[in-house]
Symmetry: C2
Subunit: 339 residues, 2 copies
C-alpha cells in the first residue's frame, strides 16, 4: 500500500540508503554490480522517488505557474498548448490559473504560485491590471518571470510579444492600399497594451497616408464577442454610411460584423472591406473569408517557456539574466474580405 522508498530498497538489499540513491542517480562511486542490483529491484518494486522529498532537498519542483486571463479562447488555449508542449520536453509541469481579467485575482494567484514555490512564472496580464507592484515583487524576489502577449512595458523582465502596432499599421495600410478612403476601427478595451498599440498602429497608418483621423470612427468594446461585432456593424450602417473599411481588433468580432453585413446585404469587400486580427481558424471558414493578421499563439507559448527555462537554468547556476524582448513575426493573411 505505502509507496516504496529508498530505505525499502536499501534494507532488502542489505546496503545503505546512500548507495541506493547514488546507484539510481548514476554516481560514479558505486560498483557496476550493485548499481545493476539496485536498478533492477527499483524497477520490479516500481520505485518512484518521492517528489516532495526531492523538492524539499533540491529546492526546485520542476513545475512552473501560468496565469492567463481566459482559458476558453482560441488564441490563449493555443499559447497554453505551446507552453505545455515545450515544458513537457524539458520535464516541467505547468500549473494553470485563470485571472478572469481581474487584477485582484491575478494578484492573489501570483501569491499562491509563489507560496507553492513554482520554479518560474509565465503570465499574460488581465485587462484590469494597471498597477504592477505585484509583478515587480516577484522579480525582486529573484523568481524567474516572463510575460507574454499582454504585457506591462515598464516591468523589467523578459517578454514575448508581437509588434501589435506594426501589425495594425500593416492591416490598416492594406485597407488603404486597396482603395479604402474612410476606415473605422473596432478597438479592444482601454487598458491592455495590445489594444492600445493596435489602435495606435491604425491611427499612424491613417496619418502617414494623409488621411484624417476621426475619433468617432473608433468603436471600443469591453467584451470581445460575436455579438459585439454584429452590434458595431449595425452602428456603422446607422451612423457612418461612408465607411468603406474596418480594421477590427480581433477576428471573432470581425466575423460577427461580417455576418451582420451579410444579413443586411452589405457587400464585402465591394462596399466595405474588413481586416481582422489573430487568424482564428474560423476566419478562413466564414464567407467571405477574412483577411487578418496571423498571431502565432502556439509559437508564442513555446518561446515564452523557452525563455523562462533559460532564466530558471541561469538562476540555478547563479548567473545574471538580462531581460530579453522576443518579438514574433506577424503576417497579413490576405483573403476575400478585402479587395
Amino acid at each position: 500500500m505505502k509507496p516504496v522508498t529508498l530505505k525499502d530498497i536499501a534494507e532488502t538489499l542489505g546496503i545503505s540508503i546512500t548507495t541506493v540513491s547514488k546507484a539510481l542517480k548514476g554516481y560514479p562511486d558505486v560498483s557496476k554490480k550493485t548499481r545493476a542490483l539496485v536498478k533492477e529491484l527499483a524497477k520490479t518494486l516500481n520505485y518512484k522517488p518521492n517528489a516532495f522529498a526531492v523538492n524539499l532537498r533540491t529546492e526546485e519542483s520542476k513545475t512552473i505557474g501560468l496565469i492567463i486571463p481566459e482559458i476558453v479562447h482560441h488564441f490563449f488555449s493555443s499559447v497554453i498548448k505551446g507552453i505545455i508542449s515545450q515544458a513537457e520536453k524539458k520535464g516541467y509541469l505547468v500549473i494553470i490559473l485563470q485571472s478572469n481579467e481581474s487584477y485582484e485575482l491575478e494578484k492573489k494567484q501570483l501569491d499562491l504560485l509563489l507560496s507553492k514555490r513554482v520554479d518560474g512564472i509565465l503570465i499574460s496580464l488581465a485587462n484590469g491590471t494597471a498597477d504592477f507592484k505585484h509583478l515587480v515583487e516577484v522579480i525582486e524576489q529573484g523568481k524567474p518571470l516572463v510575460m507574454f502577449d499582454k504585457i506591462a512595458k515598464i516591468v523589467k523582465c523578459s517578454k514575448v510579444i508581437i509588434d501589435d502596432r506594426k501589425a495594425a499599421y500593416t492591416a490598416t495600410q492594406h485597407l488603404i492600399d486597396t482603395g479604402c478612403k474612410r476606415i473605422a476601427h473596432f478597438r479592444g478595451p482601454l487598458l491592455p497594451q495590445n489594444a492600445i498599440d493596435r489602435f495606435l498602429g491604425y491611427k499612424k497608418a491613417l496619418l502617414d497616408n494623409n488621411m484624417v483621423y476621426d475619433p468617432s470612427l473608433v468603436y471600443l468594446f469591453e467584451d470581445m464577442t460575436f455579438e459585439v461585432g454584429e452590434m458595431f456593424a449595425k452602428k456603422i450602417m446607422d451612423e457612418h454610411t461612408d465607411v468603406d473599411g474596418i480594421f477590427v481588433n480581433t477576428d471573432l468580432v470581425a466575423i460577427g460584423a461580417i455576418t451582420e453585413f451579410n444579413r443586411q446585404g452589405v457587400k464585402i469587400p465591394e462596399d466595405i472591406s474588413i481586416v481582422g486580427f489573430s487568424n482564428w481558424f474560423m476566419s478562413s471558414a466564414i464567407t467571405p473569408s477574412l483577411t487578418t493578421i496571423n498571431q502565432p499563439g502556439f509559437e508564442m507559448g513555446k518561446k515564452a517557456f523557452k525563455q523562462l527555462y533559460k532564466e530558471m537554468k541561469a538562476k540555478k547556476n547563479k548567473k545574471e539574466v538580462i531581460p530579453k524582448i522576443i518579438e514574433l513575426e506577424t503576417v497579413l493573411v490576405k483573403r476575400n474580405s478585402t479587395k
Copy 2:
C-alpha cells in the same frame, strides 16, 4: 534573499519553532500574546510556509492532475475552466497535461502525475486508448481518479458524463419529427465511447421509427475539422441526393457542412436539415443558426472536480468510496437549421 522560515521567526522572537508553527496554525495551546506576536512578525516578514516541506510532512500537495486529449478545443477548454474554478475554491491547484489523443502519451503522463504525487487525477481519454490497464493501476494504488466525457465504461471509478446515446437519439428524433425521411450521420472516430454512443443513438432512433438504417449514410471522420464538414457535404451532394437530414457528431463539422451547402445553393433547412452536437458558441452565429445538443462543458468540469474532491477527502479519512456515475442533462437547442 532566502525565504523566511519558522526558524527565523522563532529565533528573532526567542521562542521555539514548535510554538511558532502552532501559533500560525491556531493551536489552542499557545497564549494569545505569543500568538499575536508570531502572527504579526510572520506578516511583516512575509512568511510563506515552504510548500515542499508541508507536502513531505502531510503527504499531500493540494494539487491535482488533469489529462485531456486536446486543449485547443472549445468544449475541453470549457471543462478545464470549470475544473480550475472549482479547484481554486477548495484551495487546489491543477496541473494540465495534453495527451494529444495518443494512448502512449496518456500512459506516460499518468505515470508522471503519479510520480509527482498529485492528490488526485482527472482524465478524459484519448481516442487512441483501447487498453485500460494504466487506469486500473492508478485505482488499485488507491489514488482518487475520476473520468469525464471520454470514459471507459469497464473501469471502476467515478465518471461524469452525458448520455450521448440519448442525446443523439433526441437529435435524430427531432429530424424525424420535422419530416426528414432519409437521415445521414457524420460520426466521430471508431474508438471513443461517445462517438460510438452517438452513432448508436442515431441508429436506434431510426429503427424505433421504422426507418431503414443505411450504413452508407454514415460518414466517419478521424479529425474533427471545419474542412471535414465541407468535404462530407460535397460527398452527400454527390452520393446521396435524397438525404434530407444530417445528424453531425460535432458542431464544428456541422458548420463546415452548412457553409458548403450554402455555397452550393442547397437550402437549409428546406432541402436538408442539420443537427449538430455540443452547442459551440459559433452555432448560434452561423447562418442559418445551428440546431444542436447542448453539452455543458463548464458544468462537467465543476462536477468532475467536486466528485474528485469528495474522493480525496474520503481517502484522507480512510473511508471507502463507491464509484459514482454522474450524468449531466443535455437539451436540444432548436434553431434554424431544422424545420
